[in-house]
Symmetry: C4
Amino acid sequence: MKTYGKLDWAFSAGRIPFRSTGKEPDFVSHDKIAILNTSEEAAEIELFIFYEEEQPSEVYEIEVKPKRLRKVRFNDLIDPVAMRLERNYSCYIRSNVPVVVQFSRLDSGSKETAHMGSMAFPAEP
Amino acid sequence: MKTYGKLDWAFSAGRIPFRSTGKEPDFVSHDKIAILNTSEEAAEIELFIFYEEEQPSEVYEIEVKPKRLRKVRFNDLIDPVAMRLERNYSCYIRSNVPVVVQFSRLDSGSKETAHMGSMAFPAEP
Amino acid sequence: MKTYGKLDWAFSAGRIPFRSTGKEPDFVSHDKIAILNTSEEAAEIELFIFYEEEQPSEVYEIEVKPKRLRKVRFNDLIDPVAMRLERNYSCYIRSNVPVVVQFSRLDSGSKETAHMGSMAFPAEP
Amino acid sequence: MKTYGKLDWAFSAGRIPFRSTGKEPDFVSHDKIAILNTSEEAAEIELFIFYEEEQPSEVYEIEVKPKRLRKVRFNDLIDPVAMRLERNYSCYIRSNVPVVVQFSRLDSGSKETAHMGSMAFPAEP
């Protein structure tokens, strides 16, 4: 199978909700990305986080094994610095091999909102 | 009408929910793809499934008739092996003729979440 | 302002729900497209509908005025033939001038589901 | 880091809801865009608004600082003229430097609908 995906991805409307009423771990409020690496090599991925009123943070580094999926919860990004809750952020994602990235959000903290945006993209060879 | 769509599609954030409280068959929790084949030929489609901690599964083969739509529920993929519930997966979709693919999810198992992500893509000739 | 959008669009997971408990007209279950024509000319648009087990229907023709938005509810497509409810369909959209198309769905018929998928696409000159 | 995104974006299915029952400011009904500027320069952005039955409005001008995110609520667009509620609109977004744009909607005015469509796009260099 040929390697598949893109080297660069981004989303701009990130926000990790503070309140949460769901059951752990599935229904806890989150921002998440799912990264698919179809290649024979480990994907070395850098996450660049941007904010409204501050300098961009240090870069987060993530590895995704060959021919594997990896889910990353933004709540779990703590090295080099924990991401703060209830703050708007954007994320630019750069990989050394083509990957497929999908972003989803679940907000279980408000009775008014139980939503998930989920995105997939057509791949180009 | 010219043939329309792309040969390659993917989504990375698949997961078939276990619990379900909806009425059959519309509101049963599912992951689904809708495949449109606008061509005069049958579309021979391969679904490659990837996981977090396991080797990719065998390939699932699907046919979509000429000038027809076909919906595929991932719950129904049982040959060569049934897909397991409550496990994260990604899917790479390859076709021999251009097709249009849309992914949707419904989770009716939790009162907190009744969501559907639905995607469409601009087609290029 | 330069003309903006694409000539071809598609979505594959169409379905007009039967049940509806919402208030007219905003919360009635629907499948809808919003078409933006940024050009100085009227956009002459053809909608090709595809099904699972039947021949594609006759073509629906829609006009969008220059520099205007038009929303089209699939429930309202009755010429040459009314679209049937509760039947899966796909739609291929072809325009004579570049347009921007966004698809949305609202299902107010089930207490379990109040969802909307909404999509936008980056435009290329 | 290289500059990242696109100069042109659009969505066609805009609508600012009138009713609102949420808590300020997070759960008030809105249409919003999140704009990420990864470049070293300020992004000078023009928003062109289109309607169903009227001439396009005057252009709204927005600046996004270098290496920053900015969220824009359409309710807050009042110069040169306030956007009206409960009216369908489309938006074409043009920037002088590449940006990443994501559109989201929250409608908290109806008990039947608590939804958000959220979109991200693969970036191309």
